[in-house]
Symmetry: C2
Subunit: 416 residues, 2 copies
Amino acid sequence: MTNEVIDICKRAAACAPRLAGLETRTKNGALLAMTEALLDSTEELTAANTGDRERAAAEGTAGTLLDRLTLDPSRLASMADGLRAVAAQDDPVGESVSEWKRPNGLVIEQVRAPLGVVAVIYEARPNVTSDVAGLCLKSGNATVLRGSSIALESNRAIVKVLREALGSAGVDPDALQLIPDAGREAALELMKAKGLVDLLVPRGGSALIASIEANATVPFIIDGDGNCHIYVDASADRNMATAIVINAKTQRPSVCNALETLVVHEGLVGQWLPPALDELSSRGVEIRGDERVVGVWPKATRAEEEDWSTEYLDLVLAVKVVGSFDDAVEHINTYGTANAEGIVTDDPSLARRFAAEIDAGSVFINASTRFSDGGEFGYGAEIGISTQKLHARGPMGLRALTSTKYIVWGDGHTRS
Amino acid sequence: MTNEVIDICKRAAACAPRLAGLETRTKNGALLAMTEALLDSTEELTAANTGDRERAAAEGTAGTLLDRLTLDPSRLASMADGLRAVAAQDDPVGESVSEWKRPNGLVIEQVRAPLGVVAVIYEARPNVTSDVAGLCLKSGNATVLRGSSIALESNRAIVKVLREALGSAGVDPDALQLIPDAGREAALELMKAKGLVDLLVPRGGSALIASIEANATVPFIIDGDGNCHIYVDASADRNMATAIVINAKTQRPSVCNALETLVVHEGLVGQWLPPALDELSSRGVEIRGDERVVGVWPKATRAEEEDWSTEYLDLVLAVKVVGSFDDAVEHINTYGTANAEGIVTDDPSLARRFAAEIDAGSVFINASTRFSDGGEFGYGAEIGISTQKLHARGPMGLRALTSTKYIVWGDGHTRS
């Protein structure tokens, strides 16, 4: 087992220098070939997926997980769309970050270069397989995938089809590797493949993240929790505030950019808050409020301290009343997870202060936190949302899969 | 002990949000106050340093280390110059990385923001104390310093003077913290201050780096080895090649950007190589060459396999003959440490290929690798040279001490 994971990483690493030198048109040609290949292989891919789902159902897998696992013609079409969107993105490799000339005449260029080998550990969704393969190829990186055991045959089939497409487009198929062992040991080997893996992105729950933090010796980026807030200031447009809060809480409550705590300026407690909570309640949202919330809207249950730090991922909303903008910022910076935080206000200077003082990957002014997403940012397919500060923060686009390199041009320069 | 380190980190973290909001002119005012304070406190600082040196000498500390430890009026003047140079740098905080509008009208800005708390573990040089304090202040970060035990009184005195200067310039002195315990336990506490330290930069030898890699739970950037190469292509200007190789090897052999292995195209073995090696030898450089080198220049000793991966940091040079450009790239990518690598060539397309194919933080075309340095890049004082690929690679300027943040401007946008 051990040797298999290392051998896979070595094949990817051996391929990486050639990928770094690929021309944009070659990469885009390969992405379009991958698109075609997915669409042309619908039967083969859905058959493999049916096998996975039957095995999972026989083992008593929950319905929501079976739904995530499902690959049907419409989902294959979205996967193909994702690859097309990646082909349409600008190529980050070779992009100039900055360039300057020193007084001694040296010209220094800082340019983007691929990381090398990018590995992703992920759960049941088979679309991640093609999304990651596409993003890594476009950014000039080799890919090592380690999916969930319940999706193993689906992933094998997708990777086989995509590797054939790479080969047909003149790209070494070793650019895309799947670890065919979904056991815990194989994941640990991957986390410890120092020198072979340049970036590991875990896409999974807190147990996976804890394991990475405890065991990984390779560089990684954490895609962590989202205890997201929206602060409705006294200056807010009332209707806009209601619409944004309802959207952020109810449009898809199970995801990391959904709203978890509403923070309200006390000036709105008498007028705006009760009808807004009525609206939320009518959509099935349970309200847990502080004393003042319960005072004006008695259907609310009283929030406990732990509610402020809970990511419900469900139709539950904590509601906190604050006396000032500063108190709102303090509450959010204390309990937030630095993922996506929003403000509704008509005051641009307050919006600027919120953007500067809130410590988060993305700050939303008069917009739903649900837009914290690679696709919504225009990044094509999604590699994840970084909740750390080093390297990349917030939704990660192709640039997040690159490093930089200095190229220094001299004319016989020596240092004195 | 444990609580002391954590308390220090907490004071820095509590200060960080205010530092993030400081205006550029306030930060520059504080940097100039720090400059003045260093120059005005020459007596106090050199007296503290004399105490450190006397204790170190009594303990039998080596002369080179005593020299590094020394603080005299001329070194204080360079420290003051370093702070002035940082004041002259552009403020990275709030700098726009990119900005675009989505088809739905959302405007997305990506701006630079401070990391928060930056900690540095370093060795005897007291100039690092003011360099790091200045760079962190300008980039809006709080600083936690942990210097060497032999420099403890010097560091205490410098930090006291700089904190007073911060206070006089309207900046919270808690922005600058020194851990007054130079023991191993205190360093371990700092490495594990997760959630309080946003970036740890170790400036030390391989034992410190190994300890960070084994123990750190806070994010860190490695400033690692430099097994640097220069490839002299057949197309090189002969005199330029000689001058660059001599400079890179002999100008300061003990540092990480000094040349360690010369890679020579076989076309130069008969003509250029022997006189170049004569020149090096006349400057006291010992030559360890492969078979072909020894064949044309018999004074060379025969290089062993381990010579190709040794960072001598001394007047010793390994010399390798290659049959082609591709062989040179392969040798360098195999044995290099991805720090600084150079080529001497008259062919711009070969230079471009070298820049693209060599996996290193900095690539030098017709220039000495000795320019791989924050000061030489124009970054003012130096925080270090990253030998990793995530976040920052190569010499680190102020931008390397920032993260980015997305600010998304809507007009009531909700997601459907």
